[in-house]
């Protein structure tokens, strides 16, 4: 069988089950079908299904018979699982991928990582492969261990922003397979500082923001993180 390697501890996809339950309440638990395709769009099908069932959802769906067979065992008792095409509108709403357009919804996934190293750069210094980004002035870079091998889209380099200490920081240069750099300007980050990408309660940056940065569909962003980024579940909605 294949070895599915868990990467190191410096990254986190934090899943808010309370936000999921809140989104379900907005949609109406009785009438909704929750799509669990692609491991619940990268949120973790088992925990998502359990929390949703406790919030009154009884109907789930996935996109194929193969995926249905894979998750059948982890579904809560008394619920049904169908097979059907992905309804992007419903998925965006359920997982709070675009709260700006779906009023009242909240992001279920919050993506963050910890600074691995910092580096001082002079004005005009090139960063990462091809030197596609150059420092606008003397300042500091922070190296973050998230790369396209983790589902962090390579094209976000020079196109997206991260949040560090509440400040928006450019993604400086090409995203490599396992890391990228952010420019923190005149201030230096400290190794271990948290860098947040989307889904933070205090920010309006969402998965949709990252999708728009490269013209990708909003529901394509979170599934890519899959099992490469450790998930933590908050709010203890489920009893276990």
């Amino acid at each position: 069988m294949t070895l599915r390697i868990q990467a190191g501890p410096q990254r986190e996809a934090r899943i808010s089950l309370a936000h999921l339950v809140s989104n379900i309440a907005v949609l109406g638990a009785d009438s909704m079908t929750l799509d669990l395709t692609a491991d619940a769009f990268g949120h973790g099908a088992q925990r998502i299904a359990r929390a949703a069932a406790e919030a009154g959802v009884s109907t789930f769906t996935v996109r194929s018979e193969r995926e249905a067979a894979q998750i059948q065992d982890v579904l809560p008792r008394g619920t049904t699982l169908g097979v059907g095409r992905v309804d992007e509108h419903s998925v965006t709403h359920s997982y709070g991928l675009d709260p700006a357009r779906h009023r009242g919804t909240k992001p279920v996934m919050r993506l963050s990582a910890r600074v691995l190293a910092v580096k001082q750069v002079a004005a005009d210094a090139g960063v990462s492969y091809g030197y596609t980004w150059r420092a606008p002035h003397d300042g500091w870079l922070a190296l973050v261990p998230l790369g396209y091998g983790d589902g962090f889209v390579r094209a976000w380099g020079n196109r997206a922003v991260a949040q560090w200490h509440g400040m928006r920081c450019e993604l400086a240069g090409r995203v490599a397979m396992d890391a990228h750099s952010i420019f923190t300007g005149g201030q230096s980050a400290t190794v271990g500082d948290e860098v947040v990408y989307f889904g933070d309660a205090d920010s309006d940056v969402t998965a949709a923001t990252f999708a728009e940065a490269v013209g990708a569909p909003v529901v394509s962003i979170t599934p890519a993180f899959g099992s490469r980024i450790p998930r933590t579940f908050t709010d203890r909605v489920d009893a276990s």
């Binding site: 996109r63 194929s64 580096k119 090139g126 492969y129 190296l143 396209y148 091998g149 490269v214 990708a216």
Partner: protein, 374 residues
């Protein structure tokens, strides 16, 4: 979607590359589950082909591979960590460590004491360390002004019997030949300085796939080769065929519908961006200009079919007149090997404004994998 991993192609690529790099040693890069090809299987094959050094990225991956037994006594080289990582585990599993700063060096030295005091009999001191100089990429690596402090500290821990500096390394930007030459000069100077303080790095490594393939003077003692071993071309028109390599991964889907859309005969395949296929399309120069919709193909029954759109779980392709009409259930090769006249990853990557590695790893980590030896 299903991917087929051709271990025969991997063997042939390793043979081509090892011969080309000789006498420099090839370090096979197997991070990110071997770029989505499956690290256990790829390491097993590479060991049979005589490869004895592997780049594993982080301690967790190195420990998993060492513990699985496939590595044997081969080198496992990890470098992505901070001073808080699990160095005790790395030491017990004999992972070579790539170090960029004094804090990490001190943490490794502290971990040797911990492991020693725990009486772990697997402990083999000194810990093998490769010191990294930043030669211009500005990611990790010690900046040139920090280098003297790093090698002095390393010499101290080496004299204490805690570590042995076996290597000096860097990562180059490949922005231009001139920039790479500048990086090479920084690297050479760093090696000289390390010798000046009494270190003896016998593994000097600077180059990855492209630079080690093209430039003899960039090979030194060892080259870290990832993409090329999997037959992934560097892009901008250069594919595996131009390098004497062949694709290891091919991706396969099925035709689920055939019909007419606006007078165009179209087939719908059962794979889409939820399978990892990129759902964006960007110019390779980084501009956001509007691009034509097509530009990459799949193959059905030996005929190339331009991709019209990639949706969540389906993909539409244009059909041309063929002798035998395409039917539901037919197999489509989404990308594969030029030797079978299939589109290669580099064609997709060039059209989408990315690199083949990104597509391979996105698809390979999620798909069902099947291994074949051709």
């Amino acid at each position: 979607m299903r991917v087929i991993i051709d271990t025969g192609a991997y063997r042939r690529n390793l043979a081509v590359l090892s011969a080309r790099l000789d006498p420099a040693q090839l370090m096979a890069v197997v991070k990110d589950d071997a770029y989505g090809h499956g690290a256990l299987q790829m390491v097993r094959v590479a060991r049979e082909c005589g490869v004895s050094a592997f780049a594993v990225l982080d301690i967790t991956t190195g420990v998993s591979l060492r513990a699985s037994g496939v590595l044997g006594d081969a080198i496992a080289f990890a470098w992505l960590f901070d001073a808080a990582d699990d160095f005790a585990s790395a030491i017990e599993h004999e992972i070579d460590l790539g170090v960029s700063n004094v804090e990490v060096l001190d943490a490794i030295a502290a971990a040797t004491s911990l492991v020693e005091n725990s009486g772990h009999d697997a402990l083999r001191l000194p810990v093998r360390v490769h010191l990294k100089i930043d030669s211009g990429l500005h990611r990790n690596g010690a900046a040139p002004h920090e280098w003297a402090a790093l090698i002095t500290r390393a010499k101290h821990w080496q004299d204490e019997g805690r570590i042995e500096v076996v290597g000096v390394w860097t990562h180059i930007g490949e922005a231009s030949a001139e920039d790479d030459d500048t990086s090479r000069n920084v690297f050479e100077s760093a090696v000289d300085q390390s010798r000046g303080v009494g270190l003896n790095p016998t593994l000097r490594h600077l180059a990855a796939s492209a630079a080690s393939f093209e430039r003899v003077d960039f090979r030194y003692d060892l080259a870290r080769v990832g993409g090329f071993t999997y037959g992934i071309g560097p892009g901008s028109g250069i594919g595996p065929a131009d390098l004497g390599l062949e694709a290891v991964m091919s991706a396969h889907a099925s035709v689920v519908r055939v019909g007419d859309v606006d007078g165009q005969s179209v087939a719908v395949l059962d794979c889409g961006y939820l399978d990892g296929l990129p759902a964006w399309r960007l110019a390779s120069d980084g501009s956001n200009e509007e691009l034509p919709k097509t530009g990459y193909d799949v193959v059905i029954a030996g005929v190339r079919c331009p991709v019209l759109s990639v949706e969540a779980d389906t993909m539409s392709v244009a059909l041309r007149e063929t002798a035998s009409p395409v039917q539901v259930g037919d197999e489509a090769v989404v990308f594969g090997s030029h030797l079978r006249r299939e589109p290669v990853l580099q064609e997709w990557a060039d059209a989408l404004g990315t690199v083949g590695e990104e597509i391979a790893v996105r698809v390979g980590l999620r798909a069902e994998r099947e291994y074949r030896e051709s």
